[in-house]
Amino acid sequence: MTTVLESGLASQQTHALVIAVDHYLFCGPERSRPGPFQHYAKHLTDLSSPSESATTVATWLCDHLIDDPYRPLGSLELLISARQPMQFDAGSGPAPVEGATFQQTEDAFNRWYDRCDRNPDNVALLFFFGHGCRIGQDDVLLLADVGSNPNAFFTNAWDFRRTQLAMRDCRCQTQCSFIDTCRSNVEEQLDVVPDSARSFRQPSTTFAPRKHAPMVYSTTAGADALTPRGRPSPFALAVLDALSGLAAVETNQYWEVRTADLATTINRVLQWNRHPDSEGEPQVADSGGSHPGDSVIRVLREAPQVPFRITCAPEEAIASAQLRLCRAAEELVRSPCPEPWQGRAPAGEHQLKAGFPLGDYHSREAPVGIRPPNRTYALEVRPV
């Protein structure tokens, strides 16, 4: 069963659909079928990161949203196609997780859609991790049994754009999608015109108003998405960081995670988390031209913990600086060290104090505002 959690019907809930494909039934060097798509299919080798990303996301959803006072988690549909059968414990013991074939994904999607549709104040969250591509201007997500028809390879692929258009007919006002796949154009890799992927629902021909519906892709159109083998993807972790509070803005005494700047924020988190020694061009998260609107996804009662990177100007002064970051009664301390000071502090106004036990620079302090999603600051100091 793909419904690993269903908590009963409350008035306003979050409903999540999480899909991951590690194992492709008709792709890869051994399983691709002879035909015009074989060369393309054989390079779609099995993955190991998507299942890690999906279980990390599902675990986060259960840990952080089941008791969420704003929009508690009402249901979680989880589909993972992996080499071994998967189980997931949503709090009531391990339960088997179904694979993500087209039919199973369509069924889960329709259940999720119906739940989301019950209340306009619901929040819909959709996550996909696995192989993907673009056919023309359309993003296509490859499900576990893609390629079962060797002459119509994309029959069991998901036409994500058309499905998103159909989501306008869903009454749920806040719909967030997070898509972690490559978006390279498949036409460049084929000698035949690709067949069409399929949508789970068809958009109605009557007017349906736009929803607050950010779609956040892990990479830009035409580009590849990369992820470390056997670990959750950087994109998945950046999305969870954003939902945890790095996409939050302060309103009165609360912090609200809103749809408006979700893609921008996730991209900033992605770049922040990128290892400084990483080679190649950075992968850039993209909104895909979606309409994010500006509605609330979560409400946090406490200020989010925001990552910061503090150094001195001139840079060499950091090696002898005793640093303190103070806010009311809270204080973070860092002893002299030749590296920038990296850590997390509650969002808000802080006082940064630098002392120099060796007496090589004048002590200095300055106010520093630390706000989501991250903060870099260089404290100017003067040598003695």
Binding site: S48, S49, G130, T181, C182, R183, S184, Q189, A225, L226
Partner: protein, 421 residues
């Protein structure tokens, strides 16, 4: 400025030529400049003498160009982002390759010579800039590194012995996939050695396929396929007519530019405009050679004749550490007594070759001759200090594309390294 490149016949500045020149210079930087001890970002001086060359006043109305459309490459000129110059190049390939199966052209060439297939492929790669250009150059190093390793492992052997997997691939797509996969452990370093880079499982997964053949290589393969597919079923006579027309074009270009050059050659005190353009570039490079290492001149086709003429007749005060003539007619022009050696007698039977003395300001001279290139001529039998390097491409279409071919550059770099040692 240690490297001067003198272009050949028929080159005229414009979008297609500029694109071609960028690819050529990328490969110079990747292979030849390191062999000279220069830095990859050192300047390459390319005097443009084409604007003073021959001009067909009626756009080639006298040339037998009508049949060129038989193989359809004019419409293929836009396939895969290739330039219009690629269109005529594809026509040339089509005219000289027997195309039974347009899906297996590269494979067919590879059974003769994998390097030629690789060079053909790169001749069709659209010009790239920035990060894409860096990736293209890295791919060239990878593929050259692998092919050079296999050649040295099985010297003188046939291609199937060198590349046992070749027997199991049936078409170009499979050939390229396999070549790309097999080459994954190799690169070609700046000392001219094939270097294994270790084989370990990548720590990264691509959410759209693992180690896919770069899209630009796939595009090049498809542009070749689409262009050649139109020629399948053409009669042998049609192919011959097309080949004749293309050779006629090349000869017309050579004759035109050569006649203009010789007609306006000038004399020592007053060189013609083409000679002046090339001399100025060599002089400029000559002025910078003290700081930047040796001065190497690479000259293609008629450019070789002009470079030789400039160094030996007009500016003997300029010294080239190495002159490389590629697919050039210097030997032919000398034998026709067009370069001022008419007083020399032909060698007596059994006498050692090398009758014309190469002046000392040309310290080394390497003449690259491809037997398949109808416009390439020997020099070793005419001049006393020149080495003919016999470069076998098995590819009649090579004349126009040597300088876009990574295997050619790698081999040229080897020779330059030895000549300057």
């Amino acid at each position: 400025m240690p490297l001067v490149y003198v272009h050949g016949v028929g080159n005229r500045s414009g979008n297609a030529y500029d694109t071609w020149a960028r690819q050529r210079d990328d490969l110079f930087r990747e292979f030849v400049l390191p062999a000279m001890g220069a830095q990859p970002d050192d300047a390459i001086l390319s005097p443009d003498w084409g604007s003073d060359g021959a001009r067909l006043r009626w756009s080639g109305a006298s040339l037998p160009a009508e049949q060129i459309e038989i193989l359809g490459s004019e419409t293929g000129s836009n396939v895969g982002g290739s330039t219009s110059s690629d269109g005529s190049f594809l026509t040339e390939v089509a005219a000289h390759e027997v195309v039974d199966n347009p899906d297996a052209v590269l494979r067919s060439i590879a059974t003769r010579d994998v390097s030629s297939a690789l060079d053909l492929l790169f001749s069709l790669v659209p010009s790239a800039t920035g990060e894409e250009s860096a990736r293209t150059r890295a791919a060239a190093r990878r593929l050259v590194g692998y092919c050079r390793f296999r050649e040295r492992l099985h010297p003188g052997q046939d291609q199937v012995r060198r590349y046992p997997w070749l027997a199991s691939v049936v078409d170009d797509e499979a050939f390229l996939d396999r070549l790309w996969a097999e080459s994954s452990r190799w690169t070609f370093d700046h000392t001219g050695a094939s270097t294994p880079i270790g084989q370990q499982e990548s720590a990264v997964e691509v959410l759209g396929g693992r180690d896919q053949l770069p899209a630009w290589l796939s595009r090049a393969r498809r542009s070749l396929r689409n262009a050649l597919a139109r020629g399948v079923g053409s009669s042998a006579s049609a192919v011959v007519v097309t080949a004749r027309a293309l050779l006629g074009q090349q000869l017309a270009q050579l004759a035109g530019d050569a006649l203009v050059y010789l007609g306006q050659r000038g004399d020592v005190g007053s060189p013609g405009s083409i000679a002046r353009t090339v001399a100025t570039a060599i002089e400029s490079a000559h002025g910078g050679r003290g700081q930047s290492g040796p001065l190497v001149i690479v000259a293609h086709s008629l450019g070789g004749v002009i470079a030789y003429d400039v160094l030996t007749r007009f500016r003997p005060d300029l010294t080239a550490d190495l002159l490389v003539t590629v697919g050039s007619q210097v030997g032919l022009f000398a034998e026709l007594a067009l370069l001022g050696a008419e007083e020399l007698d032909p060698p007596a039977s059994g006498a050692p070759p090398g009758q014309i003395e190469v002046p000392p300001n040309v310290r080394n001279w390497l003449n690259v001759v491809d037997w398949a290139d109808p416009l390439a001529f020997h020099a070793e039998r005419i001049f006393d200090r020149v080495t003919d390097y016999r470069y076998r491409t098995s590819a009649v279409w090579a004349h126009t594309t040597y300088l876009r071919q990574p295997m050619f550059h790698a081999r040229l770099a080897d020779r330059i390294r030895k000549a300057l040692a």
